[in-house]
């Protein structure tokens, strides 16, 4: 089963070399987003304000459809907020922002390029061919797809495509890394391996990471801060920040720690899940 990762793949020796952009601070200033106009208008995000320090990992949690992807898109400059603004390192985002790299919620691979070719798109322009090949080869290996480097996206499984999309984002070595549920389609083992990979990459090159996830455990393992989006209970339309949590302890964290278990229950309760 070449598609399977042996847990030893993501060792630090195989990490991307530290040549990327320095990590950048991201600030949301009173961000709001509505879709449609007039009668059919509906507000998705409202008065979202928070700052992410350079090099931090921030996890975004929230119910399905609350606007997490929309928030990430605003950072990348793929969506224009209706109100407020996002700034990266103090300058406002307007239009597609080259300081970011995105792993979209769906893999969005080019069907006519191989897995390796798709990952190569992530490599910043200006890299020469040899260096591009080297980066691609390493990252494809790190996400466990070496044997499938030449396959087309339609010839790999859903989880494999997701990993290719992650590799493409990592190849960019960006100031801000935006990950929209990057491990959603992965089995338990591969998921842990990929989480470790992300942490290794982050340690070698402490970039700013905004991570959307539905997995509270994952957020607790990876993030410095967790932000909970959702309706604030005032009845005002749209989601906003309902809670922020600072996760204690250095990474890697003990998945069995009681402090985390308490936080976990508390976060789940905030998400509306009780007693599990």
């Amino acid at each position: 089963m070449p598609a399977l990762l042996s847990p030893s793949v993501a060792t630090a020796s195989a990490l991307p070399d530290p040549q990327g952009t320095a990590a950048m601070a991201v600030s949301f200033q009173n961000l709001g987003r509505s879709f449609g106009t007039g009668h059919g208008a509906h507000t998705v995000l409202r008065e979202v304000s928070f700052d992410v320090q350079a090099g931090e990992i921030v996890a975004l949690l929230g119910p399905s459809g609350c606007g997490k992807s929309t928030l990430l898109r605003a950072v990348a400059g793929l969506d224009t907020p209706s109100t407020g603004a996002v700034t990266i390192n103090g300058t406002a985002v307007s239009g597609i922002d080259s300081r970011c790299a995105v792993a979209f919620q769906e893999p969005r691979l080019l069907p006519w390029k191989s897995i390796a070719g798709n990952v190569a798109i992530g490599v910043p322009a200006g890299a020469n061919a040899a260096r591009t090949r080297e980066v691609v080869e390493r990252l494809v290996g790190l996400v466990g797809l070496s044997e499938f480097a030449g396959h087309r996206p339609r010839e790999v499984s859903g989880g494999m495509a997701q990993r290719a999309s992650l590799a493409r984002a990592l190849a960019r070595n960006p100031g801000v890394l935006l990950l929209d549920e990057p491990f959603g389609a992965l089995d338990a083992l591969t998921r842990i391996t990929m989480q470790d990979l992300l942490l290794d990459v982050h340690q070698a090159e402490p970039t700013t990471v905004l991570l959307v996830t539905h997995d509270v455990d994952e957020a607790l393992q990876l993030a410095d801060h967790i932000i909970l989006l959702g309706p604030d209970g005032t009845g005002a339309p749209g989601a906003t920040i309902v809670r922020t949590v600072e996760v204690p302890g250095p990474r890697p964290r003990d998945r069995a720690s009681t402090a985390l278990a308490g936080l976990r229950s508390s976060l789940l309760a905030s998400l509306g899940v009780n007693g599990h």
């Binding site: 008065e47 928070f50 700052d51 931090e56 224009t80 907020p81 209706s82 801060h225 906003t240």
Partner: protein, 274 residues
């Protein structure tokens, strides 16, 4: 990380995210900008005739062409030319488009139909409009039928080609999903395959309409004494360059006008099916 204290009410409002390209969206502006190039061409034409780069018989001035038009209007002929030609083109286009869509769907979706019909249709596609004329006269005599048939032939191929080729490249995942839910045959075609190729259908239709106007000239070589194609050929035979240019300009305007109508339909269809 720090959450801003007290999220204030929204201040910076940019309601229309794409204000930059809005200038091209307003339809009157669009029309005006679209007329820039034609007006420039008209100017170059006027200047080149005024400066005698070409003699008036080689290239009559825009004024002379306009006069030729007024004269034909005065004789109550211009309207008839335009009307009969438009009628022929529209009828031919409609029939050709329907045939092209049907046969295109058949050949695009059925391997057997492709193998059996493909080569023959491909060969007929290269038969020039002028070559059809004697054959049509032979088979259908010289009435309205043979003229419209020729236009049908012209309109058929672009629709057929684009539709049959596009149908082969419909997103396999969507087709598979629909088939998994029991859709097949005509239902699958109308639910998934045709909507997926709406852009291709319209590029086929627009080319077909253009080709219908092209074939009109050949069609009106079949014993006609009315129509813009006739006006074109007749003026050419009689050396009336001013009328010749009038016919060309009218064909261009009518071609563009009918194309614009199709463009509106396309906009609607694309909004509906994408």
């Amino acid at each position: 990380m720090a959450v801003h204290s007290g999220a204030a009410a929204s201040t910076a409002t940019n309601a229309s995210p794409k204000a930059g390209s809005a200038i091209f969206a307003r339809s009157w502006t669009r029309l005006g900008l679209g007329l820039i190039l034609p007006v420039l061409i008209l100017l170059a034409w006027q200047l080149s005739t005024a400066a005698w780069v070409f003699s008036p018989v080689q290239l009559p001035s825009p004024r002379a062409v306009l006069d030729a038009g007024t004269e034909l209007i005065g004789r109550n002929e211009l309207f008839n030319h335009v009307a009969i030609s438009t009628q022929r083109v529209l009828i031919g286009f409609l029939i050709g488009a329907v045939l092209g869509l049907s046969l295109g769907a058949l050949v695009g979706l059925s391997k057997a139909a492709d193998v059996l019909l493909g080569p023959t249709i491909g060969a007929l596609r290269a038969v020039p409009s002028l070559a059809w004329v004697p054959l049509l006269i032979l088979w259908m005599k010289i009435g309205e039928d043979s003229k419209v048939t020729l236009i049908v032939i012209g309109a058929f191929f672009p629709v057929f080609t684009t539709v049959s080729l596009a149908l082969r490249h419909v997103d396999k995942n969507l087709v598979e999903a629909a088939r998994a839910f029991g859709l097949k045959g005509l239902k699958l075609l109308t639910t998934v395959q045709l909507p997926a190729v709406v852009p291709a259908i319209f590029s086929g239709l627009r080319l077909a309409l253009a080709q219908a106007w092209l074939f009109l000239v050949a069609a009106e070589l079949i014993a006609s004494s009315m129509g813009l194609g006739f006006l074109l050929t007749d003026s050419q035979n009689n050396g009336r360059t001013d009328r010749l240019l009038l016919a060309i300009v009218l064909l261009a305007i009518l071609g563009k006008a009918t194309d614009a109508l199709l463009g509106l339909a396309e906009k609607w269809a694309v909004r509906r099916w994408s």
